[in-house]
């Protein structure tokens, strides 16, 4: 299959709809394809994309400046057959109005509201135009990501609590509400959950996020590439490798900097280590949420061993700041690399023994099987990603369908299950650990010698790049645009959590309230990654 062999058909469909595609570039955001359209055609682009069978990937805004008629850019990314297509339009800053994509793609809902809150773009016919990321730190009518808004802003001396958000309400005999958060009972991130329940059964869950909004997109502006990589590595601490890699990939593609093979292999080793570390922690925690403490004890022990391996490899337990623009910060200690093969064998043997015990435990299966089901149709409709999607029959994985180096040198197996319940999500993650271990063995065996870092080539003003990396939660997209001096003009990162949080609302319906924690853990969205 050749890349983008579908694009001419897609463009023909646009032509049938009298949508004028004004400019195309296969180079600007390569390997993604970039096209531009008029704002009047924006809504119909979504209609064409949906009818064509595209997956909705991301939406982000940009301030395009302009003395006479200042403009805002809005871009949406779609995926089809492993190829990414970015459609861009420009609207006048004075009247930034576009048709919403949400009626066609449910996934566009919150990202459009984020764009509305931070850029002031109005999305017509949006089914739910409530604010999303904005609580009380800035006013209605202030748009932090416009260039005329200073990063310091003009915040009130005391930020008022977010009290008047119009939550969905349920009425009827026996219906009651449970508000939870933002401060939760465990050691977890803050967010608000509003349940409507009858007896123990959850009728509806509404999520309210944005509590850990740290202005990441804004404070990225003006940074050097190195400082951007550090920031990207803290979008979501549990995904530091994949986010830093996506940001660096965007920088490297923007500046057309070739990354040494050794660095790519080491990045992939780090990304697979990150995947395994998180899967180990979560499998234990999921078992613990249904009272099987043995598994928590064992899996947290394995995770700790694994993090100590990370420490030996690069000097950081979570592998932070190892991925840097142009490569890798330090060559690993040779003894740590040499010890890794034995470490993989040991983990595999331990897991085989633990899985046998888990599978031998009918009460565990009874609690996880059938709990928190996400059907394939809903997963597809919501654009769900990663293991959540793969446990519901959707086989997408960038490493297999849109492989980037070094994954383009081998076949990546993508485990898929159909059941869509908590048990399936656990099983998919078990299988993913197995696949990751096999990949790591290949990378270790074929690890090239040589340089570990190539300095970024000097940029031309306005160059941009798109990074796409399969993090442990799923596809991560990062977009970077550079100034002529090499500093950051615009940075956007779409964590997979944007698309998986809405799935949790559907997953818990008709489950019992006490099963919310295990359902939540089986999805494990990042609050920080989505709040930005």
């Amino acid at each position: 299959m050749s890349r983008f062999d579908w694009l001419s058909e897609w463009l023909a469909r646009c032509e049938d709809e009298h949508i004028l595609i004004r400019r195309g570039s296969a180079r600007t955001l390569a390997p993604a394809h970039l096209v531009e359209c008029d704002p009047e055609d924006w809504g119909r682009i979504a209609a064409v994309a949906r009818d064509f069978g595209c997956r909705w990937v991301a939406l982000w805004g940009s301030d395009e400046g302009g003395e006479e008629t200042p403009a805002l850019g809005v871009q949406v990314a779609f995926e089809y057959g492993g190829d990414h297509l970015v459609v861009r339009t420009r609207v006048p800053r004075a009247t930034p109005v576009l048709s919403s994509h949400s009626p066609w793609f449910a996934a566009a809902d919150r990202p459009e509201r984020h764009c509305q809150d931070l850029f002031g773009v109005v999305f017509l016919d949006h089914p739910d135009a409530r604010r999303w990321t904005r609580h009380g730190a800035w006013g209605d009518g202030d748009y932090p990501l416009r260039k005329d808004f200073a990063a310091a802003g003009q915040p009130p001396a005391e930020t008022p609590p977010d009290q008047d958000y119009p939550f969905l309400a349920a009425r009827g005999e026996g219906v009651y509400e449970i508000p939870v958060g933002p401060v939760h009972a465990g050691i977890i991130e803050p967010g608000h959950f509003r349940f409507q329940a009858v007896g123990e059964t959850i009728l509806n869950l509404e999520e309210r996020l944005g509590y850990v909004h740290k202005g990441i997109e804004k404070i990225a502006e003006g940074r050097t590439p190195e400082a951007l990589a550090r920031l990207a590595g803290r979008i979501s601490g549990d995904t530091t490798v994949a986010h830093a890699w996506a940001a660096c990939m965007a920088l490297e593609r923007a500046t057309r900097t070739p990354v040494p093979g050794r660095a790519l292999f080491l990045r992939a080793l780090a990304a697979e280590r990150e995947r395994i570390a998180n899967h180990l922690g979560d499998i234990g925690a999921i078992c613990n949420d249904v009272g099987f403490a043995f598994a928590q004890y064992q899996f947290s022990r394995l995770r700790e061993d694994w993090l100590r391996g990370n420490q030996r490899l690069c000097g950081h337990r979570l592998l932070m700041d190892w991925v840097v623009p142009g490569g890798i910060a330090r060559d690993p200690d040779p003894s740590a690399l040499a010890a890794m093969a034995a470490e993989l064998d040991r983990l595999e043997a331990e897991l085989a023994e633990l899985y046998a015990i888990l599978d031998d435990n009918p009460s565990l299966e009874d609690r996880l099987s059938g709990t928190g089901r996400l059907t394939e149709a809903t997963a597809r409709q919501l654009g769900t990603l990663g293991y959540v999607a793969r446990a519901s029959g959707l086989a997408f994985d960038l490493r297999a369908q849109a492989p980037y180096p070094p994954y383009d040198t081998l076949e990546v197996e993508v485990p898929v299950l159909e059941q869509g319940d908590v048990l399936a999500r656990v099983r998919v993650r078990r299988e993913e650990i197995r696949v990751s271990l096999a990949l790591m063995r290949r990378f270790l065996a074929e690890l090239p010698a040589g340089e570990i870092r190539q300095p970024l080539a000097p940029p031309v003003a306005g160059v941009e790049g798109l990074g796409l990396v399969e993090g442990w939660r799923g596809e991560i997209l990062a977009h970077v645009r550079l100034h002529a001096d090499g500093t950051i003009d615009r940075f956007f990162a779409r964590d997979p959590s944007w698309l998986n949080w809405p799935a949790l609302e559907r997953i818990v319906r008709n489950n019992i309230v006490p099963d919310f924690p295990v359902c939540n853990k089986s999805v494990n969205g990042s609050y920080s990654g989505q709040d930005l």
């Binding site: 609580h135 930020t159 850990v212 550090r230 549990d238 064992q298 995770r303």
Partner: protein, 172 residues
């Protein structure tokens, strides 16, 4: 079931033992000292309510690790509680996001006096990678008084314990 019991038997106790090797400040010696401070100052136990006030979740991962079998922090009298009303100390992470300001203030108010506030991680200590902006107030002490600061990005479990000890001694 037999397999499970057998696995438990063979895993044994992995909780890290007393000083071995060159590092004099090993976990257990540290822990014993922490325990002594807690006994002296807090009547035997330290109940901590963790509050993520804007963190990237890296700190949370390492705080979680304190509860794993290697560190087993409860043996030193430290445990994490679900409500600030049960807490002696708040362990606050993150650059303080403005959207968490009211929630942190209310959590602080709900914690009975006398109370300790521990700023966990570079961001909570000085704003870290995020600093002060329209969305972030930076260091936790920009909102509430902080007694103990534990730097690191994120602090490792061992450094968390060291930081606690230094803080308990220092704020005495």
């Amino acid at each position: 079931m037999l397999r499970l019991l057998n696995r438990i038997r063979r895993t044994g106790i992995v909780t890290e033992p007393l000083a071995t090797g060159a590092d004099a400040e090993t976990l257990e010696t540290l822990g014993i000292e922490v325990r002594r401070q807690i006994d002296r100052r807090l009547g035997g136990s330290l109940a901590i309510r963790e509050v993520d006030a804007g963190s990237c979740n890296g700190c949370e991962l390492e705080i979680h690790a304190l509860n794993n079998a290697y560190y087993d922090i409860e043996r030193f009298g430290i445990h994490f509680v679900a409500s600030p009303r049960h807490a002696d100390a708040l362990l606050v992470t993150g650059p303080l996001s403005r959207h968490m300001e009211a929630a942190l203030l209310r959590t602080y108010a709900a914690t009975p006096d006398p109370k300790l506030v521990i700023a966990c991680g570079d961001c909570a200590c000085n704003g870290g990678e995020f600093g002060v902006s329209y969305a972030s107030r930076g260091a936790v002490e920009n909102l509430i008084p902080v007694d103990i600061r534990i730097p690191g990005c994120p602090p490792s479990p061992l450094n968390l314990l060291k930081g606690l000890l230094a803080g308990l001694k220092g704020s005495g």
